[in-house]
């Protein structure tokens, strides 16, 4: 039980890292390698709120969400949209967007270093135990899981039960066909990218309550998010969530029953197995 709960909590963390990218890649077709830096930006904002302003770090969400949304909206509008318009094929767009966002990630790391310096950052928030089924867990982790759950559930409801969500799904299935049925693809893609960025920043804020981070840690999150999005199946939010939970539980069980040294190996074995037997990902559609 303790193992399962720990695994689910970790899975929740992974989910909130990955759903932002899932949205950005699935709808906006941008393989955003700077998504980890968005997380770090959220973490820095929370750190600043908590230490410099002595405020509840969760209050920083009031600023982080609109700011991250705006910044990502601008990034898509002025940095990525020209690439989208120029790209003749999806493959070309992927290569171009990977290069641009890779560069963007370096720029952001440089900005963080300049603004905050290179040392480790962390602060203490709700680092007190709460008992669930006779085992103790940090309240900050429980809260992080609740936030991850709310974000994922909210996204799922939006995508599956609203008209605008439906158009997002339509775009992720077929961009050209979507534009034929009067969906403004550029506008919706821009919105999806901005929302994905805002979710990533929220994730970073939540993570900062228990994780030690520094200016250049973003790449770690980006890699994790990539693995999860590809495992889950491109363009399906359910896939990313399920993959994140599976990964979290697997890592915890392996660490607990076999050896913590094998968590990374277990994660990649899982990744490999899924790629071998379901190359389109858990919930992905086969490419036509």
């Amino acid at each position: 039980m303790q193992m399962l709960i720990t695994g689910i909590f970790l899975g929740g963390v992974y989910a909130i890292i990955a759903v932002g990218l899932s949205l950005q890649y699935g709808v906006s077709r941008i393989m955003n390698l700077a998504v980890g830096e968005m997380l770090v930006a959220g973490a820095f904002a929370a750190f600043w709120f908590s230490t410099a302003q002595s405020l509840n770090p969760y209050l920083s969400l009031l600023v982080v969400i609109p700011l991250a949304f705006g910044a990502n909206w601008l990034i898509y509008r002025y940095l990525l949209l020209p690439l989208v318009r120029r790209a003749k094929t999806r493959g070309q767009l992927e290569v171009d967007s990977i290069l641009v966002t890779f560069g963007l990630s370096f720029t952001l790391v440089g900005i963080f270093l300049w603004a905050f310096g290179g040392e480790f950052f962390n602060y203490s928030f709700l680092s007190v135990p709460v008992e669930i089924f006779d085992s103790r867990y940090g309240q900050n982790r429980v809260l992080a899981f609740v936030i991850a759950f709310v974000v994922c559930a909210g996204l799922w409801i939006w995508l599956n039960h609203t008209r605008s969500g439906l158009s997002m799904r339509a775009i992720s299935v077929d961009t050209r066909a979507a534009s034929l049925v009067a969906i403004d693809v550029e506008k919706s893609s821009n919105f999806a990218f901005a929302l994905g960025g805002a979710i990533a920043a929220t994730g970073g804020m939540v993570l900062s309550t228990f994780l030690t981070f520094d200016a250049s840690i973003g790449i770690v999150f980006t890699l994790k998010a990539l693995v999860i999005v590809i495992m889950g199946g491109v363009g399906d939010i359910r896939g990313a969530i399920v993959a994140a939970l599976v990964l979290g539980i697997t890592e915890t069980v392996v660490a607990r029953l076999i050896d913590p040294g094998l968590t990374l190996a277990a994660a990649y074995v899982l990744f490999l197995l899924i790629l071998l037997f379901r190359p389109q990902g858990l919930f992905g559609r086969a490419q036509t």
């Binding site: 909590f9 002025y78 290179g118 040392e119 480790f120 962390n122 680092s127 994790k224 607990r256 913590p260």
Partner: protein, 399 residues
């Protein structure tokens, strides 16, 4: 349009860089000192605490004095040339080579981290630069100093560092202050593995029962399973040869799960002695043991700490910071002692003289400093050295 702006910007930056470069090249009386260490990558956080601020502090103080006094009777200011090695040994090697050959610096401050130091020691040797290592800890120091004439070590060897906590625990066990059930974990990195191997032997010799032992990858995301497993084994001591991010994570998780209250000895390694550790955990870490130490009441350390805070705006750590600063003091004193920038003469001077540092008097024996702190403890917000190798003054009693 966008590309144009970007290229203009790049051009401007390059020009500015070139301007700084030529200005310094013109002033021929400056002493050029190179430094290559991480500003990004996994070790950047540690370097930002221990390495870079001391380089800044030292350069600031030297230049405030007017510079280093040479035989021409004049003081020569120092100029620091910094490279980010991105925590990548290949980059470190490249940066050191570039410093020596294209920047033509007079001296090079060794890189940060054991791996980087070992990777570049042959380069320093080949290029003829003295290398006064600080953050390089290995049992191979004797072999290395025998092979490389100008390579020095100051922070200690692996086995004595592991002995620090192991002997302390053995003494406590002998006095009946602690049981003999030991949980030991380590980060699967050269530093963690070497320390754990050295410590395991000593713990077993001293009759400890190792009830839980494991290693974990440096990129570990969640240490909860490790703490839970350790807790299930019901240990009396918890010893972790850990690196900065996991040092914080293990401590927090041990507090949350209650493990920290259940054990008599709780020990973590690198970053334990960082001010950030105390800032994060406050009173909760009173009594926690960690690698390294200082004598926080030593006037020389207090003065150093105040200067460090005034110049860099940050507190030094309680282990390697003062040693790092001392290594730069030693370099300065050796250059002044020789009176020229002759690197071979500086190396010889280093071997044959004593130096006055914030860590006390330093004399290299076999190119090594053999007095150093091995284990410390947080006591009322300060980190006290409670165990040392050689003879360190001001060893505190564990509480």
């Amino acid at each position: 349009m966008k590309l144009k702006t970007l290229s203009t910007l790049v051009g401007a930056v390059t020009l500015a860089g070139a301007a700084v470069f030529s200005a310094s090249a013109m002033a021929e009386d400056t002493i050029r000192i190179g430094a290559a260490a991480p500003k990004t990558g996994p070790l950047a956080g540690g370097a930002a605490v221990t390495y870079w601020p001391n380089v800044e502090l030292w350069a600031h103080q030297v230049n405030e004095r007017g510079g280093i006094l040479l035989n021409d009777g004049e003081r020569h200011p120092v100029e620091i040339i910094e490279y980010d090695d991105r925590t990548n040994p290949t980059e470190t090697i490249r940066a050191v080579q570039r410093l020596a050959t294209s920047d033509g610096v007079d001296f090079i401050i060794p890189p940060y981290g054991t791996g980087m130091a070992l990777a570049t020691a042959p380069i320093f040797d080949r290029l003829g630069y003295p290398m006064i290592n600080v953050t390089a800890i290995t049992d191979q120091t004797d072999a290395l100093t025998a092979r490389y004439d100008g390579v020095f070590f100051t922070l200690g060897k692996t086995t004595p560092l592991a002995q620090g906590i192991a002997r302390l625990a053995a003494d406590m066990k002998a006095n009946g202050e602690v049981g003999n059930r030991l949980a030991m974990v380590n980060v699967a990195d050269a530093f963690g593995i070497e320390l754990a191997e050295a410590a395991r032997g000593i713990f077993e010799e001293e009759g400890f029962d190792i009830v839980y032992s494991t290693s974990y990858p440096p990129t570990i995301q969640d240490v909860t399973p490790i703490i839970n497993s350790a807790q299930d084994a019901d240990p009396d001591l918890f010893v972790a040869f850990s690196y900065p991010p996991d040092t914080f994570a293990l401590t927090e998780q041990a507090q949350v799960s209650g493990l920290m209250d259940e054990v008599d000895v709780f020990y973590t390694a690198v970053a334990n002695a960082f001010p950030a550790y105390r800032n994060r955990f406050g009173d909760g870490i009173d009594g926690v043991y960690g690698v390294g130490g200082v004598n926080p009441e030593d006037p020389a350390f207090v003065e150093y700490k105040e200067a460090h805070m005034a110049v860099t705006g940050a507190e030094p750590d309680y282990w390697a910071s003062a040693v790092m600063y001392s290594s730069l003091q030693v370099l300065e004193q050796a250059i002044e002692g020789v009176g020229t920038l002759d690197r071979q003469a500086v190396t010889e001077y280093l071997k044959n003289n004593s130096f006055d540092t914030v860590m006390g008097e330093w004399t290299f024996n076999n190119q090594q400093i053999s007095n150093y702190w091995t284990v410390g403890q947080w006591q009322n917000g300060d980190f006290y050295g409670v165990g040392s190798f050689g003879d360190m003054e001001g060893t505190a009693d564990p509480m």
